[in-house]
Symmetry: C2
Subunit: 652 residues, 2 copies
C-alpha cells in the first residue's frame, strides 16, 4: 500500500459511483452538522453582545431565540419546496441561475462560498473553544489546535463522502443525546426548584453591566444569534448525494435537522435564563463557553461533563464538514459553467472534487490565522453571506412559481415570498448592525468574487471561440521539419537525440552556443570524425554543425534568435527543436543540474513562435542496454525510406 493510498484510500472505479450515495440517517450528519452544531456558538454570540448589560442580559436571550426559531421554521418550509422543485441540487446558485439570471446567480454563489469558508473557520474555532473550556491549560495553543483540526478534516474529506458519512454519525447522535439529556435533567431541576435551581458547578460571575438595553444593542445581539441559522440551506444544495427516492429523503433530513435544532436552541435559552448564565469575554484567559457553563451547572464537572464536552468538540469540528461536502460541489457547478478553472470540475481518484476541498481548506486556514482562532471575531462576517444566499434563493423560487403551470403554484409562491421577505429583512438587520464590526468585509469579498467569476468566464469564452472549429482539418503539406539539436558536447545523451532527429527529418542541425566561437576547432574535428563519417557511411543525409556566439554567457537568447531567423528562412516548414535530456532516477539528483534544458524548453514554447515545436529526447541514466539493437542488426526497408527524403530547399 503506497503512502498516497494509506492517506487517501484506494481509487474508486466509476461504476461504484452510485454506491457512494447516502440516506437520511447518514444525511443528517453529512449535511446537517453545520446546522445542528450551531447551538454551540449562536446563543453564545448573542450573549457575548449582551455582556455589557451584566446579569440582566440573559433575560433577553429567550425572546431573541424565539424569533430565530420562527425564522427557522419559515426557512424550512421554503426549502422543502426548493428540494421538490430542484431534485438535482437546488442550491441558491442553481435556483437563481434558472430563475433570476446570471448576475443574481453569481451573487448567490459568492455569498454561499463565503458562508462555507466562514462555517469551517467558525466551527473549528468554536470546537477549540469547547476544548479550552474543558481544559483551560490549552488556552494559549488555540490557533495551532485549530490548524491541526483543519488539516485532519481536510484529509478525511479527500478520502470521499461515504467514509465521511459513517465517521460522523456516532458523534452527531451522541452530541444530540448528551445535550438532550442535559436539557431534560435541567428542565426537571428548574421545575422542581420552582424556577430557581441551584447550579452544581456555579458558572463564573457575570461582570456588572456597563450599559442599559437599547434597541440597537438587542438588534446586534439578534444579528449575532442569527449565526445559529446558517447551514440550513446545505440540504437543498446536496440533494444529488441522496439515495433514491432523493426528494423524500432530503425533505425528511431537512425536517429532522430543523426540528432538533429548534429544540436545542430553546433548551439553551431556557437554561441560560434559569441558571443566570452569560458569556465570558472571548479571546481572553478564563474564557469558558456557554455550553460548558451550562452542562457544568446542570450536571457538575463529572464524567458526563467530559463526555458531553468531547461530543461538542467533535461535532463542532466535524460540522465544518458540511462545507467540505458543499463548497467543492458549488465550485464544480461554477467550473462547469466556465466561472472557475476546469480543475474544480475534475473528480479525483476517490470521486471527490479535490481542488475545491483544498482551496476551501486554505481559505479557512487563512481566516483562522487572521482572526487568531477566536470565534467571536469571525461572527460578524458569518451571517451576512448565509442570509444573502437565503434571500436570493427564495426570490428565485418566487420567480420559478410565477412561471410554473402547477395547480398549487400560487400557494407555493406565497410560502417562498414570505420566506424571502423574512430572510431579506434579517439580512438588512444583520448587515446594518454588524457593518462596522466586520460585515463590511462581505461587501468587499462578494463583489470581488463575482468579478473573478466573470473574468474567468470571459477568458474561457475567448479561448473557446479562438480554438473551436467545425470545418474539416486543414492539411498542411509541408516538408519534414528542420530539426535543431542544441548540444553541449558529444556524449551518449546527445547521440540519442541525434538518432531520433535522423528518423524524422533529413534536415538536422546541431547547434552549439559558445562564448568564444574560435575555440571550437576541436569540436569541429571531432564532429567530422565521430558524427559526419558514420552517418555518411550509413547513407543518411549528414547533419550540419552550427556554432553561435554568446556575448553575455547566455545560452537561451542566442538560440532563440537563431531559431527565429531559421523560421523566417523556412516560412513553409516547422522548426523542431530537439532537447536531449539526461533522466536521473532520483528526483533530488535534479538539484545538481543546471536546468538549462528546462528553461530552454519553456522559452521555446512561449517565445518560439507558431512554427516551432519542442521535442524532449530522454536518455536514462539506468539505460543499461541501449534500445534498437534489433534495428542495428536488420537495416531493412525503413532505411531506404528514410534516406529517400531529400532536404527541401528553403527557396521554394
Amino acid at each position: 500500500m503506497s503512502l498516497k493510498e494509506w492517506l487517501f484510500g484506494k481509487p474508486i472505479p466509476n461504476d461504484e459511483a452510485e454506491e457512494e450515495k447516502i440516506g437520511p440517517l447518514e444525511g443528517i450528519p453529512v449535511l446537517g452538522l453545520d446546522a445542528l452544531a450551531s447551538p454551540a456558538y449562536g446563543p453564545e454570540a448573542a450573549l457575548t453582545v449582551l455582556l455589557v448589560l451584566g446579569a440582566s442580559g440573559s433575560r433577553y436571550i429567550g425572546p431573541i431565540i424565539a424569533i430565530i426559531a420562527v425564522l427557522l421554521l419559515i426557512v424550512q418550509f421554503s426549502y422543502r419546496q426548493t428540494i421538490a422543485a430542484y431534485p438535482d441540487g437546488g442550491g441558491s446558485y442553481s435556483v437563481a441561475r434558472a430563475n433570476l439570471g446570471r448576475k443574481p446567480a453569481l451573487l448567490a454563489a459568492a455569498a454561499l462560498a463565503l458562508d462555507y469558508v466562514l462555517n469551517v473557520a467558525v466551527a473549528i474555532s468554536a470546537g477549540v473553544g469547547a476544548l479550552v473550556s474543558a481544559i483551560p491549560g490549552l488556552f494559549h495553543h488555540m490557533l495551532p489546535l485549530c490548524l491541526v483540526l483543519l488539516g485532519l478534516i481536510t484529509l478525511v474529506n479527500l478520502r470521499g463522502i461515504r467514509t465521511a458519512g459513517k465517521l460522523f454519525m456516532a458523534p452527531t447522535y451522541l452530541f444530540v443525546a448528551c445535550l438532550g439529556m442535559t436539557f431534560l435533567v435541567g428542565l426537571v431541576k428548574v421545575v422542581s426548584s420552582g424556577g430557581h435551581p441551584v447550579p452544581v458547578e456555579p458558572p463564573p460571575a457575570i461582570p456588572a453591566g456597563t450599559a442599559t438595553a437599547s434597541l440597537w444593542l438587542l438588534m446586534r445581539a439578534f444579528a449575532s444569534g442569527c449565526t445559529a441559522m446558517t447551514g440550513v440551506e446545505a440540504v437543498s444544495n446536496g440533494v444529488p448525494i441522496f439515495r433514491q427516492p432523493r426528494v423524500r429523503g432530503a425533505q425528511r433530513t431537512l425536517a429532522s435537522i430543523v426540528g432538533v435544532l429548534v429544540v436545542l436552541l430553546a433548551g439553551v435559552a431556557l437554561l441560560c435564563h434559569a441558571y443566570g448564565i452569560g458569556a465570558t469575554p472571548p479571546g481572553q484567559a478564563g474564557f469558558q463557553s456557554v455550553l460548558s457553563q451550562l452542562v457544568g451547572a446542570v450536571a457538575g464537572r463529572g464524567v458526563f461533563y467530559y463526555v458531553t464536552s468531547a461530543s461538542i468538540l467533535v461535532v463542532l469540528c466535524l460540522s465544518a464538514n458540511t462545507s467540505f461536502a458543499d463548497f467543492p460541489r458549488l465550485c464544480r457547478m461554477l467550473a462547469l459553467d466556465g466561472y472557475l478553472p476546469v480543475s474544480f470540475a475534475h473528480a479525483g481518484s476517490r470521486l471527490v472534487y479535490s481542488t475545491g476541498i483544498i482551496i476551501l481548506s486554505l481559505l479557512a486556514g487563512a481566516l483562522l490565522v487572521a482572526f487568531r482562532g477566536v470565534t467571536d471575531h469571525l461572527i460578524p462576517l458569518f451571517a451576512v453571506g448565509a442570509f444573502l444566499a437565503f434571500t436570493v434563493s427564495q426570490f428565485g423560487m418566487v420567480a420559478h412559481w410565477r412561471r410554473s403551470q402547477e395547480p398549487r403554484a400560487k400557494h407555493y409562491l406565497m410560502v417562498n415570498a414570505v420566506g424571502g421577505t423574512a430572510t431579506g429583512l434579517t439580512l438588512a438587520v444583520v448587515a446594518v448592525s454588524k457593518f462596522s464590526e466586520g460585515a463590511w468585509m462581505t461587501f468587499v469579498f462578494v463583489p470581488l468574487a463575482v468579478l473573478l467569476f466573470h473574468t474567468t468566464r470571459r477568458h474561457h469564452e475567448k479561448v473557446e471561440e479562438a480554438i473551436e472549429t467545425e470545418r474539416p482539418m486543414r492539411v498542411v503539406q509541408a516538408a519534414a521539419p528542420v530539426v535543431v539539436v542544441p548540444i553541449k558536447r558529444l556524449d551518449l545523451v546527445t547521440e540519442k537525440g541525434l538518432q531520433f532527429a535522423l528518423t524524422i527529418s533529413p534536415d538536422v542541425q546541431a547547434v552549439q552556443v559558445r562564448a568564444q566561437p574560435e575555440e571550437c576547432e576541436e569540436l569541429r574535428a571531432c564532429w567530422k570524425r565521430r558524427v559526419e563519417a558514420p552517418i555518411r557511411a550509413a547513407g543518411l543525409p549528414v547533419p550540419e554543425l552550427v556554432v553561435l556566439r554568446s556575448t553575455y554567457r547566455q545560452v537561451v537568447d542566442p538560440l532563440l534568435g537563431y531559431i527565429h531567423k531559421l523560421a523566417a528562412a523556412h516560412p513553409d516548414r516547422f522548426i523542431a527543436v530537439l532537447v536531449p535530456e539526461l533522466i536521473e532516477h532520483r528526483w533530488y539528483h535534479y538539484l545538481l543540474h543546471s536546468h538549462t534544458a528546462t528553461v530552454l524548453k519553456m522559452m521555446l514554447l512561449f517565445r518560439g513562435g507558431p512554427q516551432v515545436v519542442v521535442i524532449s529526447a530522454p536518455w536514462f541514466l539506468r539505460e543499461r542496454k541501449p534500445p534498437f539493437t534489433r534495428a542495428l542488426r536488420s537495416p531493412g526497408t525503413s532505411l531506404q525510406a528514410s534516406a529517400a527524403r531529400k532536404p527541401a530547399s528553403s527557396s521554394t
Copy 2:
C-alpha cells in the same frame, strides 16, 4: 530599461571581464572589510564573557587583545607567503588540495564556507547592534532590520564586484578615520588626565561581579575575542581579483589591513580600560555596544558620535561583503572540481556567480532568524570555522615548502609552521572553551558539508562515466517514429498537433482517453468526416483513432500503459508522443488550466522508457494568421516526399 536591468545592472560582455579587476585601494574595502570591522564585535565579545567579573573585568581586556595582536602578525606573515606561492588564489581550499589531498581540502572548504556564512550573520547583527545603540527605540525591530540589510547587500552583490568596490570605499575610510580620531583624542585625554579621564557621556554602570577571574573564564574571553581575527584569510583567497601585479597588490593590501586592525584593537582595549567600559548584557533592552559607549565617553553624544555610529553601522553591514566576494568564488572552485552542482560555476550576466550569492544570503538569513539577530549568540560558532581553515591552510603551506626547490624554502617552512601551530593551538582553545555554547554545531555542520561534497562528486563521476564516449556515433537506421497524439476533442490546437505529426511520420495515432468508451460514437463519426477525409484527399497516410478506457477517471495512467504496449510491439522504432498545447499570452491565465498536459509530459519523460520521445506542439492564442499559408498554395516536391513514406510494419 527593464526591472531586471534596473535592479541588477546591464549585462556585461565577456571581453570587459579584465576591467572588473581591482587595486589595493579598492582591495582594502572589498576583501578587508571583514577584518577591519571586527574591532566592533571582537573586543565586545570578550568583554561580554568578562561581564561576570564586574568592574574589574576590563583589566583583562588589554592582555587578551595583546595576544590576539601577536597572533594577527604571525598569521599575516604566513599569508604573505601563501599569496606569493599561489597567485591564482591561495585560499585554504586550493592550498590544502594541492598539498594535503582531497580530504583536508574538503575539510578546509567546509570550514571556510561556514566561516563566510557566519561572518555575514555576525556583521549584519553587529551593525544593527550599533544602530540600536544610537537609536534605542529600534531595539524591538532588530531581526527585521537585519533581514532588510541582508537583502540590500545581496542585491548590490548581484550587480557585480566593481560596483561593490566603489560603493564601499568611502564608508570604510570614513570608519577608519572616525575611530582613529576617537583614539587620538581619547589618548590625549588619558595622558593629560594622568590616566583617569572624565567621560563626556558616562558609560552605563557595570553590574557587580558574580565570579572571580579563573583561567577557564579568561580562556573563554580570549576565544570570544578571537572573532576579531576572522576575515584575514580573505585576501589570499581573493588574489585573482587584483589587477596586475597581483601578488604585490595583494600583499600590500593584507599588510595594510592587519596594520590598521592591530591599531584599532589596541585603541579599543586601551580606552576601555582607561574609561572603565564593559559590555552590556546582549539581547536585552538597554543594550549598548562597546564602541558606542567608548565614542560617547570620549566625545559625547554630539554630531561626531552620530557620524561615527553611522560609519560603524555601514562598515559592519558592508563587512558582510567580504563573504559575498569569497563564498561564491569558493563554491565555484568546488563546483569546477565536481563537489557542488554545476550552477555554482556559471557566471551570471553581470559576471558574478549568482547561485553562490543567493545561497549565502539564504543561509545567513536562516542563521539570523534562528538566533534572532543577536550577535553574541552567533559568536561561539564563528571562530572555530575560521581557525580550522587557517590551520589547514598553514600546514598545507608547510607541505608545499617541503617539496619546494626554492633556496629559502626552509625559512618559509618555519614561518608557516609557527603560524600553523599558533592558529592550531588557538583552535583547540576556542573549540574546547566554546564547545557547549555552540561550537559543537561546527562539529555537526562541517562533517555534513564534507559528506555533501563527497556525495555530489561521486554522483557527478557516475553520470560522467555513464554518458561519456569517445567512439563514433552509433547510427540507428530506424523507421520514422510511431506518433501518438493524445486528444481531448477536435479543435485548432489538436489540428496543429496533427499537422506537425503528419510531417514527421506516416504512422500517426490519435488517442482519446474516456471513462465511458461507448460514448465515443459521435467522435468517431466526426473524426471520419473532419480528419480522415481531408487527409485521404491530400494523398497522405491516414492517422488512426484509438480510444482507451479510464476506470479511475485518470488520463495519464491508461495512456502510459498504451504507450508501453506500443513500445513493446515496435522494439525497433521510437514512440513520439505529441502533446498539443494552448499557449496563453499571460502567465496568470495558466491558473485556469488543468495542467494535464504538463503532468503528462513529465510522466512520459520519466516513466515512458527509452523508446519514448515527447513533443510539445504549441498553439498560440494570439496566432491570428495560421502559419504555412505558402505551403497550402504550393504543395511542391515536399508533399510527394512526405507521402512516399510507408508505415513500417511492426512485424519486421
